[in-house]
Structure formats: structure tokens, C-alpha cells
């Protein structure tokens, strides 16, 4: 039976007990949530609404206990050319359909799932960092030192869908929070955005939802607002769409900080007051 086979895949096929901690916790039956193989998860980022507050980054880091130095969703200050528009750009993992990272992984520690998510199994990763070299979006991070949240230290078994447990010498990234999706919740970053700039949903259903509970037609959003994808010319077929920042709802990044940093160090977090949008009024549609 396909269902039983999919659900009852022995734990040893995907992840064995690692690092000497207790035997694998038996897999619970998946709740009746929206996860499923017929889904095609997709994210839409409305750049007109992103104000650079980086709540998404904070929520993701807190939920997954992301080791310091890594930002699985990183908010860039972008300026496409010197006299043009400056804007904030949240960049999660693009979950590319033609993922360069999946192509080069020598042990299949990262793989493309049928619901569109590019998964990561850090219990199999050998730490060669080829996937980080291959990713053009710089979406991956590496655990250079022993992380704080190792299986032994937090007493939690490793679950690739939760991705809260970390191993030294492995590569990690955003995986669109499949554990939260199974529970019927939006990914942490999407749910945390106070501006409702991040939308998430199933492309097959043609509907994406943001943190404000607005559910809109994905195709309508992308077509009417000229949605585009990052680095489209590279052919990676990303699953994250961006809506251009026209008629934005917040102030632009400050001019001196809008230059892409060439490595001077940490860019300052802009102090822009956050504004919640109430569904009645402020939606620009």
C-alpha cells in the first residue's frame, strides 16, 4: 500500500540513531494536516511590504535553533543598479526545481522531494561543502564548530523535517518547515512576518496565505504584480517568487546602507517602525 509504504519507511533508510544517543523514536502517524505528495509548495515575497525588520530571521533562528553565523532566511538590502531603487529582499532557500545543490551532492544528503521541498539530511552529510559551492543564492550554511543544539545536549532525536538538531561538520539550510506544514501551520518565517509580506501555499491549489490570514490566488498575484524569480537566467527554477516593490508600504533602506556590503562586517539593522496591516484597509490591491 503506497500510504503505508510512504509512512512506514523504516527509520534506518532515512536516518539511523546517530552519535550514540537513544534508539530512534518510533515515527508517529502523520496528522491529518495539509502535507502530501500532491502538494507543490511555493512562496511569494511581496517586496513592497517587506520593511527589513528581520522578524522572519529571528523566528526561523529561534524555531530551528539555527547556529550563530547562519541565517536560513536572510534579508538583504538590495539595489539593482546604482541610481535605482533600494529595497529589502528576504531570501529563504529557493527549493529549486533544478537544484544545483542536489545535482552535486555525492551522498544524496540533500534531495528533491515531490512536494517541491529540497530536503537536507544532516545525519548523512559528509561535510564536503560542495552544495554550498554550487548554490548561487548563498542559501546554505555550514556548522564549522560544534553547535549548541546537538542531539546529546538537547536530548532530542534527529528529525530531518524539524531540523532543530545540529551536527558538527554538516551543511544546513531552510527547508520550508515541513514539520509545521504537517501540523497545518505556516512556516515560521511566514507566520512571523508582521507586514504579511511572505505568502506560502500550494501551487496546485493556486492559493497562497500570509501571516495576516489573507489567502489569495497565486497565479493572480504573480501575473498581476509581475512576479519574478531571483537569478532566473541561471535555470535553477526556484520556487520563491518576488513581487516588485512598487507603491511600497514602508520606507526604503537608508541610502548609505543600501550599498551591498563588500565584507566590512555586519550591516546595521535598520530601525524602521513596524506597522501591522489590518485586512480592512491597508492592503494594496
Amino acid at each position: 500500500m503506497a500510504a503505508a509504504a510512504a509512512v512506514g519507511v523504516p527509520a534506518s533508510r532515512t536516518h539511523r540513531p546517530r552519535e550514540g544517543f537513544a534508539a530512534e523514536v518510533p515515527r508517529p502517524a502523520p496528522p491529518a494536516g495539509p502535507a502530501g505528495p500532491s502538494r507543490r509548495w511555493v512562496m511569494v515575497v511581496d517586496l513592497a511590504k517587506c520593511d527589513g525588520c528581520r522578524e522572519c530571521t529571528r523566528a526561523c533562528t529561534a524555531m530551528h535553533r539555527v547556529p550563530p553565523g547562519q541565517e536560513w532566511i536572510r534579508v538583504y538590502e538590495m539595489r539593482d543598479e546604482s541610481t535605482g531603487l533600494a529595497y529589502w529582499l528576504p531570501r529563504p532557500c529557493m527549493q529549486c526545481d533544478n537544484a544545483p545543490c542536489v545535482k552535486v551532492c555525492p551522498v544524496s544528503a540533500t534531495w528533491k522531494r515531490e512536494d517541491g521541498i529540497v530536503m537536507q539530511d544532516t545525519s548523512r552529510c559528509i561535510g564536503c561543502r560542495y552544495c554550498i559551492a554550487a548554490c548561487p543564492y548563498q542559501a546554505r550554511g555550514f556548522n564549522w564548530v560544534e553547535p549548541a543544539a546537538t542531539p546529546e545536549r538537547i536530548g532530542e532525536p534527529y528529525d530531518p523535517e524539524w531540523n532543530r538538531v545540529h551536527f558538527r561538520g554538516t551543511t544546513e539550510k531552510c527547508i520550508f518547515c515541513p514539520a509545521l506544514i504537517k501540523e497545518g501551520k505556516l512556516p515560521a518565517c511566514v507566520a512571523a512576518c508582521p507586514m504579511g509580506a511572505l505568502y506560502f501555499g500550494d501551487r496546485e491549489e493556486d492559493a497562497v496565505t500570509n501571516s495576516q490570514g489573507e489567502t489569495v490566488r497565486f497565479s493572480k498575484l504573480v501575473v498581476e504584480q509581475a512576479g519574478y524569480r531571483l537569478l532566473e537566467e541561471l535555470g535553477t527554477e526556484p520556487r520563491v517568487y518576488y513581487l516588485p516593490p512598487r507603491q511600497r508600504v514602508y520606507p526604503a533602506p537608508p541610502p548609505e546602507e543600501a550599498e551591498p556590503a563588500g565584507g566590512a562586517g555586519r550591516a546595521a539593522v535598520p530601525t524602521v517602525p513596524r506597522k501591522r496591516i489590518d485586512t480592512a484597509g491597508g492592503v494594496r490591491r
Partner: protein, 523 residues
């Protein structure tokens, strides 16, 4: 196995070669001791890395590969010399290669071992190495590397071992009364060689077959190493000519390594009869040809994107041409490719010795000027921070034309010296080639990583530069020491110049048989 009644007799030059196997003065022991110390220090550094993780290196999320991968590409590149000397020169009938084929194959063997260790050192989880075998994905260039390098290592070992069998038989017979372990080793490895026509026929057959298949294997090895970079989308790596570019660079640095080895053994074991000036001249020609090919590929690789300056490539091209990597880049190209070619060609010009007639165009004044410049620039740069604060910009004190003028002065002053000493010229050129080769690998790996598509933002301090730490340098030095140890150890166990292959002429073979040196099998 027949027993030898009389100790075989060797000519005087052969005796000298064989003596080098057992003789070893204080100098040899000091060298081996020093290399062993460096190698052990490299092991200590690796143990540190195993304990604390890769964070002890200077690598971070942006510059995720650095010195280790540069070492890997360098060593695998040097390893191509075996296929070049043993196979290509054999197939083209270059008889002069005979004294140096074993040196070349030994370089291949040692460098493949050290080079193959480098990716292991670079791995974040070496304890999960077997995952490569258990879950290996054949679509990944890393798997292609694994298959290709193991295949080449096996082939090179065969190519190193098989031509040595007759020499091992000679050694077995010579050391019949010698130390037990040597006797056992040679007996075991010589496979009962009695120099029968049937055995000789099979040996020749093996050599012919191996010579043909080792060439495509060697070409594939560095091609797949280049495709580790070439199969990514990054600017600077996303190039179609990476395969031939890397192979030509590998052959170039491998040939240079053999010249260095030739000079070292010639001096250390007094092998002037085997390794003559003619050998250096011919290797020089080979190096020139390979250098021109490599220079051509390098030129094409940089000019093509630089003409267009597309956005993706602008960052790393500016970084190597005029940015943080500019000095390293121009130094590498000039002293790694151009200068060796000049050193191999210009000294041959007949009127070069007349340069010494020009006043001041002699080594000592040129060296004195260079030393003055070096001291001055060191002193000025040390004093620079405080003087810059006082409003003085020291860069204006030393005009930019000083350094190129000094370089030309030194070069012209030393040209007559190289004219008189062509072997020295070849050795200096080969050393420059290999230093340049390593720096070139570094320049391929690092500047591209520091210029990704999306800007480097919100990275912790120090993540946007690459500063290799003592761990990386120690492991590099340890790998080099290990390479030299394997090589020197090999030369102490086995004759570094093949004896049977370098017998003067076929007539002397008859004479050798009559003298009982080479046994006649009573089949």
C-alpha cells in the same frame, strides 16, 4: 627459483647508482628527520582539526574551500607527470626518457597519495567517509573524482612497479647476502624474474598496453578535478575550457616537478652519467611547449570574460586584476609562466654573455639594489601607520617604476649566469613553475568564492576575507613533507634510475649476459 652462484657484476656507474640505495650520511638522516618532524607536526594540526572541527581553519560560509582544495588540485596536477613521461614519451619513441621515467612515476605515486588525502582533510565528517560508498551518487563530480583517481593510482602503481621487475631481480641477486628484509622484499617483488624471452615478452606487452590506457585515464583525472569547479554556476568557475585548461596546467607543473627531482637526485647521488645536460635540455623543450600551451589557456580564460565584464564576472575579475588579489595574480602569471619560459629560452642566445660587459649589469650590483629596495620597503611599511597618520603617504615615496626596473635589472644580470649553467636555469624555472602552480590553484579557488551572485551581507566579522590559519599551513607543509618522505624513501629502496633500461646499447646486453649479470633461464 635458481640460486646465483656468482655475484653479478655491474659497471662503475651502475655501482654508484646501487650504492645510493644503502649509503646515507648525516645529511640524509638530518633531511629525513626534518621531514618526519614536519609531517608529524602536520598530523598534530590535523588532530586539532578533528577535535575542534573545521572552525580552526580560516574557512567560513563564503570562502568554503581554500588551502586544502588548492593542495588537492596542485598534487593531482603534479601527478600527471607519470603518464606524460612513461606513456606519452614512450609512445612517441623518445628514448632519452629512460633514466627519468621511474622518477616521474614515483612522483605520480607519491603525489596521488598526498593529493587524495586532501579532500579527506577538507571533509567536515571524515567519520562518515563510507557514505560515499554506501550512498554514492554517480551524478556528482566528487564520485567521478573518486573513481578516476583510484583508477589512475592503480594504473600508476602498475606503471611504476612493472618496469622495475628486472631491476628488482638484479637487486635480489645482489643483496642475496645482504640484510634479510631487503632480500625478502626484492625476492617477493621480483616475481621470479629470470629474464627469459617469454617473461620479457610479457613485460613488454604489459608496458605497451598500460602506456595506451594510462593516457586517457590521466587526462580524465584532472578533467574531473576541474569539473568540481566547472559544474557549478559561479562566475570564474562556470567555464567550458576548464577541462583542457587544468590538464595543460597539470602537465606543465608535473614536468617541472620532474626537472626538480632530476636535479636533486643528480646532485645527491652523483648521477651525472645517467642524467646529463641533454636530459635537462630536452625536458626544457618539453616544459617550454607545455608552458606555451598553458599560457595560451590562461590567457584565453581571463581575456574572454574580461572583454565583456558581465555583471556576474565583474567582481572576481576586478579582484584579480586590480583588487585585493592583484599582486598575487600578476606575480603568479609573471613568475609562474612568463619568467620560467624566459629562463628556458633566453639564456640560449649566443651573445648573452656579452651582457656582463655592460657596467652594473652584473649579479652583485643588481642583488645589492634589490636588497636595498627590500629593506627600504619593509622599513617604510612598518613605519607606515604612524607616518600616514602624520599626513605623509609613503606610497608616493617609492615610484611605481622601481619594482619593474629592478626585476628587469636582476633578470638581465643573471642571464649570462644561466647561459653558463643551463641546468641551474632549468631548475630555477621548474621551481618557479611549481610555486606559481600552487598560487594559481589558490587564485582559482578563493577569488571566485569571495564574489558570489548575491552580495555578502550580515556575515560575522572576518567571514568576507580568507585568512588561512596555522592548521591549514601546517597540514600543507605536512603533506609536502609526506610527499618528499615517500619519494626519498622510494629512492632508498629501489634504484631511482632504471638499470636494465639504461644499459648502453643492445650489444652490451650480450656482453652482460655472458658476464652472468642477466641470467639465462633454462626453460
Amino acid at each position: 627459483m635458481s640460486t646465483r652462484q656468482a655475484t653479478p657484476r655491474f659497471s662503475e656507474r651502475e655501482e654508484r647508482l646501487l650504492a645510493s640505495l644503502t649509503a646515507g650520511g648525516a645529511g640524509t638522516y638530518a633531511l629525513i628527520g626534518g621531514l618526519l618532524a614536519v609531517f608529524l607536526w602536520g598530523l598534530v594540526a590535523y588532530a586539532t582539526q578533528l577535535r575542534h572541527g573545521l572552525g580552526v581553519t580560516g574557512l567560513r560560509d563564503h570562502v568554503l574551500w581554500g588551502v586544502y582544495i588548492a593542495n588537492f588540485v596542485f598534487f593531482i596536477g603534479v601527478s600527471h607527470v607519470g603518464a606524460l613521461m612513461s606513456a606519452i614519451l614512450r609512445l612517441t619513441g623518445a628514448e632519452w626518457r629512460r633514466p627519468i621515467t621511474r622518477m616521474a612515476e614515483a612522483i605520480t605515486f607519491a603525489s596521488l597519495l598526498m593529493g587524495g588525502l586532501m579532500p579527506l582533510v577538507d571533509m567536515g565528517r571524515p567519520d562518515r567517509l563510507l557514505n560515499l560508498v554506501r550512498y554514492g551518487r554517480l551524478q556528482s563530480p566528487i564520485l567521478w573524482d573518486l573513481l578516476s583517481i583510484t583508477t589512475y593510482l592503480t594504473g600508476s602503481t602498475l606503471f611504476l612497479y612493472v618496469p622495475m621487475i628486472p631491476d628488482l631481480a638484479l637487486l635480489r641477486d645482489r643483496y642475496a647476502a645482504g640484510p634479510a628484509w631487503r632480500r625478502r622484499l626484492y625476492t617477493l617483488l621480483s616475481l621470479g624474474w629470470q629474464d627469459t624471452p617469454a617473461q620479457r615478452h610479457r613485460l613488454e606487452l604489459i608496458m605497451r598496453v598500460m602506456a595506451v590506457i594510462i593516457i586517457p585515464i590521466a587526462v580524465s583525472v584532472h578533467t574531473v578535478v576541474s569539473w568540481i569547479f566547472g559544474m557549478t554556476l559561479r562566475a570564474g568557475w562556470n567555464s567550458t575550457i576548464f577541462g583542457p585548461y587544468f590538464v595543460s596546467g597539470a602537465l606543465f607543473s608535473g614536468a617541472a616537478a620532474v626537472i626538480t627531482a632530476m636535479a636533486a637526485f643528480r646532485w645527491a647521488y652523483r648521477l651525472e652519467d645517467y642524467i646529463t645536460e641533454a636530459h635537462f635540455r630536452r625536458m626544457g623543450y618539453l616544459l617550454i611547449a607545455l608552458g606555451l600551451a598553458y599560457g595560451y589557456f590562461t590567457f584565453a580564460e581571463y581575456l574572454t570574460p574580461a572583454y565583456k565584464m558581465a555583471t556576474a564576472e565583474r567582481g572576481y575579475l576586478t579582484a584579480v586584476f586590480s583588487g585585493p588579489f592583484a599582486r598575487l595574480f600578476w606575480f603568479t602569471q609573471l613568475t609562474g609562466i612568463l619568467l620560467p619560459l624566459l629562463l628556458l629560452t633566453l639564456p640560449r642566445i649566443a651573445w648573452v654573455p656579452r651582457l656582463h660587459r655592460v657596467p652594473l649589469l652584473r649579479p652583485r650590483p643588481a642583488l645589492a639594489a634589490a636588497a636595498t629596495y627590500a629593506v627600504a620597503s619593509v622599513v617604510l611599511s612598518a613605519a607606515s601607520p604612524s607616518l600616514t597618520m602624520a599626513g605623509l603617504n609613503l606610497n608616493q615615496w617609492i615610484p611605481p617604476w622601481v619594482l619593474p626596473t629592478l626585476a628587469v635589472w636582476l633578470f638581465l644580470a643573471f642571464l649570462p649566469v644561466f647561459h653558463a649553467r643551463p641546468i641551474t636555469a632549468a631548475v630555477v624555472a621548474s621551481l618557479l613553475v611549481n610555486v606559481g602552480a600552487w598560487l594559481k590553484r589558490y587564485l582559482i579557488v578563493v577569488p571566485t568564492l569571495l564574489n558570489p551572485f548575491l552580495p555578502i551581507q550580515r556575515a560575522p566579522a572576518g567571514w568576507a576575507v580568507y585568512q588561512p590559519t596555522w592548521v591549514e599551513w601546517s597540514i600543507t607543509a605536512g603533506a609536502l613533507a609526506g610527499f618528499l618522505l615517500i619519494y626519498i624513501g622510494f629512492s632508498k629502496l629501489f634504484p631511482i634510475v632504471p638499470i636494465w633500461e639504461t644499459r648502453e646499447a643492445p650489444e652490451s646486453r650480450e656482453a652482460a649476459v655472458q658476464e652472468g649479470i642477466v641470467g639465462v633461464a633454462a626453460v
